[in-house]
């Protein structure tokens, strides 16, 4: 036992690796399920070689007694079932001299690249021990060994194996449990074999599933989509659940169809959502623009992967922010949100869906592979803040009644098309003013089936009825309304997750530090902040959940009088640029931006803070020697 693996008060990172068919991923899944049973928190990422199926793979888990937000700086324990193609994973397996490697001496010597880490090495004859059991498998012996090393009980491991292998024949499950037990150090203490019951309600799910759950919570009843990695699992999670709640999922012929299907369903009054990734998002931009212009609510979850083009389908990067913010032609204001962790995928997707409904617009939710395909044990995510639903005709009438006198721009609900001849065609007589200008920019929306409120939705520039018009005043009014309804909405506090620690003040004459980030980078940033505070640095974190519309005033207030570092995983500093474009950053703000596909590690941020703002008392934190993450590009403030 190394220092790190024997201290169970701190999170521990465990990796299980093996060649195709070795079952490294199943082993990881059992460990995570066992952690849930032992009242731990945790998360599990995976990496695999290029083979479509069945190549070498690694499960990397981090397990701890408090919520685990990121994968940490290094691997504490590596259980290598064999060494086949392990060099493919060196970047993902940062080991150092405090790490422990469990390996099967029968599968050959430790490769130099791994041995170079200086990690402690311990031989365990996984395969040989497995052979002792009928149908025994080496990976399950490793589950026993690794599970005990990180403090999981034998009972929890056995139960977890039963759950994960529920579809297998009972003999297989028994053999598995026997192997786990064989790997588990003897004698197992009584406590370790007592039946488990987690003290607290705790969930195990992926970010993709959480996003799906958020959609259901928000009332989404229609999904249309086209498969794409790494978004498919979100759809595959949703399909059977929608069956259960009476909703529909349509597998479309392509993404162009999918996004237009959403617009149709939503026009019909049914909240609608899709999930995709970069290439699919590109194909959807025209349809998203239609939703914006026709004011039909839809939600598009982008589970981002590395780019550009087909890019890195199974790896993560935060490089679709530019497209999500700016990717529509013409002026097309819309919502952009990003979940901050696995559980937050539920919160943010729910909130985004509710906001889209209320504001009659498109919402893009920027998840990514690192959230979507990570499975985690977490506290159940909170419900999103309440948002009123679509403005239907009765609400609109109620709003208008008391205030007709006072409010600018409130024309009759059954309005006219404006001055004669300004609309393209002849003026309305009694038709419904679907796009009526109102005080909050939100027009009443009828849905098919409602008599007397028929209208034709349109993506052409139009007047208040929806009739196409190229009149300048109509165009200006439409654009102003699209922008104002978004900027005028009160989003409350949920726009960001903020943490100032206990002691966020000036200290020894130096200003406190603001770490600004978004999306999946939050986990590493918050851990970096924690460690900085331990070293006596005053630091706050601001993780943006609502990216557009940006909360300018709140941001400026939050950043006032601090050193600012913007952290994200992409090559060009997309958030950094965006915040400058919106003029909320001080000119001396700095950027830490580096491309994927490697997960962000807290040490990278610590090092960047030290280099850029370096209070002398700050310890240098070595990123593990073999991590390839060092060559990030840093953009200084230059204006």
């Amino acid at each position: 036992m190394t220092r790190r693996t024997s201290d169970h008060s701190q999170p521990i990172t465990v990796a299980i690796s093996g060649s195709g068919g070795s079952g490294a991923l199943t082993a990881g899944s059992i460990l995570l399920a066992a952690a849930q049973r032992c009242d731990r928190y945790g998360l599990m990422m995976r990496a695999a070689g290029p083979q479509v199926r069945g190549g070498e793979s690694v499960a990397i888990l981090r397990i701890g007694p408090t919520p685990v937000t990121n994968i940490g700086d290094r691997v504490d324990l590596l259980a290598a079932l064999d060494w086949r193609n392990i060099e493919r994973f060196v970047d993902e397996l940062p080991l150092d001299s405090d790490s422990l490697i469990l390996f099967d001496p029968d599968s050959g010597p430790i490769p130099d690249l791994i041995a170079a880490s200086g990690a402690e090495q311990r031989g365990v004859r996984f395969a040989n021990q497995a052979k002792a059991q009928p149908e025994g498998r080496a990976n399950m012996v490793a589950v026993g060994v690794a599970g005990s090393a990180i403090g999981l009980s034998l009972t929890a491991l056995s139960e977890a194996a039963g759950e994960i292998l529920a579809n297998k024949p009972v003999e297989t499950v028994r053999a598995t449990q026997a192997c786990i037990s064989a790997g588990y150090p003897k004698p197992a203490l009584a406590a370790e074999t007592a039946p488990t019951r987690p003290a607290r309600r705790r969930w195990r799910l992926s970010g993709n599933a959480a996003a799906g759950l958020g959609a259901l919570r928000a009332g989404v009843d229609f999904v249309a989509a086209y498969p794409i990695t790494p978004a498919s699992e979100m759809l595959e999670w949703l399909a059977p659940q929608l069956e259960r709640i009476g909703g529909n999922l349509v597998q479309a012929e392509d993404e162009l169809a999918a996004v237009s299907m959403l617009v149709g369903a939503s026009f019909g009054g049914v909240p609608a959502l899709t999930a995709t990734s970069g290439p699919g998002l590109s194909l959807m931009t025209e349809g998203i623009g239609l939703a914006v212009a026709s004011e039909t609510p839809i939600v598009v979850v982008d589970v981002a992967r590395g780019g550009p083009s087909t890019g890195l389908p199974t790896k993560s990067e935060q490089a679709d922010l530019d497209q999500a913010l700016y990717g529509l032609h013409g002026e097309a204001p819309h919502l952009v949100l990003a979940p901050l962790d696995v559980g937050d995928c539920a919160f943010t997707t729910e909130w985004a869906s509710r906001l889209a409904e209320r504001l009659q617009t498109a919402a893009i939710v920027l998840s990514d592979q690192a959230l979507g395909q990570t499975r985690a044990v977490i506290d159940p995510p909170a419900a999103a803040p309440p948002v009123p639903g679509r403005k239907r005709i009765d609400q609109d009438r109620a709003e208008q009644a008391p205030s007709t006198a006072g409010t600018a721009g409130t024309a009759g609900t059954a309005g006219t098309a404006g001055t004669a001849g300004t609309a393209e065609e002849s003026p309305a007589k009694t038709a419904f003013a679907r796009y009526r200008q109102s005080a909050d920019g939100i027009s009443p929306m009828s849905i098919p089936g409602e008599a007397g409120l028929t209208y034709t939705a349109d993506g052409l520039a139009h007047d208040e009825r929806g009739t196409p018009s190229s009149n300048a005043a109509h165009h200006r009014a439409q654009l102003a309304k699209l922008a104002d309804k978004l900027s005028g909405h009160d989003y409350g506090d949920a726009w960001a997750r903020r943490d100032r620690g206990d002691d966020y003040t000036h200290r020894n004459g130096s200003r406190p530090i603001s770490l600004v980030t978004w999306g999946s980078s939050w986990g590493a940033v918050q851990e970096a902040a924690m460690r900085l505070r331990e070293q006596g640095v005053a630091v706050q974190t601001i993780a943006l959940r609502l990216l557009a519309p940006l909360q300018h005033e709140a941001m400026r207030r939050a950043l006032a009088d601090s050193e600012v570092l913007v952290v994200e995983i992409n090559a060009s500093g997309q958030l950094f640029r965006y915040l400058h474009a919106e003029r909320v950053l001080p000119s001396a703000a700095r950027s830490f931006a580096r491309p994927g596909p490697l997960p962000l590690r807290p040490a990278e941020i610590l090092n960047s803070v030290r280099e850029l703002f370096g209070p002398p008392e700050l310890e240098r934190t070595e990123a593990a020697a073999i991590s390839g993450a060092g060559s990030s590009r840093r953009l200084g403030g230059q204006a």
């Binding site: 759950e163 009476g246 939503s266 019909g268």
Partner: protein, 284 residues
Amino acid sequence: MSATTTPTLRARDYLSDIKPIWCPGCGHFGVLSALTKALAYLERPKEDTAVISGIGCSSRLPAYLDCYGFHGLHGRALPLATGLKVARPDLTVIVAGGDGDGFSIGGNHFLHACRRNIDLCYIVMDNAVYGMTKGQASPTTPPDWTRSPLTPNGPGIPVFRPAAIALAAGAGFIARGFSGDPHGLSELIARAILHPGFAFVHVLSPCRTFRPDDQSDWKQGVHPFTDRARCDAEAVPALRVDDDGMGIGVLHEADPKAHSGPKDTLADADRAAAIDRIEAELEV
């Protein structure tokens, strides 16, 4: 959702007060008129009818009706309508557009709508040209038509055969009409609406401005279609080889298979309970 008692509507009651932007003599007027006749004949409540279109002269049609409508994206009328119909099976959903919209940029959705067999009535107003963008060749433009500067030697490609494609793709109802015969056309549209599943109505609808000869050529050329397309679900279907593209009538009508009716939507409370169950499964 429909109102309790709707007074009987005449065809013109389905028209909105918006004046079409079409050129005088445009074939699309005939389609508009035929559609209102069909709706009146079927006594569809206006508010339970939605007309979905793409972009093009033809696709301007929804605004000229006093039903719900969506003038969507070029080429994407069918998926928009599919989403609407799946989400709202109680509505009558009609899809309208042009030959460019439906067969060029929208060709893939046409194929897959035929296969998917959602209960839509799809009316393509085929004028063998892109009217709205001022006269370029469409998939149904003859290969030797040299009047577009974009294809100075003519498109040079055999015409797209909508009915044959629809049949090969599995459409259950295929008809061809002529906008110069709004009466006959309204009957075909009515039958298409009644067909439980995807129904395709191919309408010869001449563009007065960019293909001025079609009006009279087609008036001369159309004739009743006499034989039905054979369609064997296990095999590859065939239209009679003597379809010359001018045969008017129902070209193919499959056994109207019982469509799985609309799903039961759950009451809000039941939905919430179902979500609770889903969440409970995330615990151990």
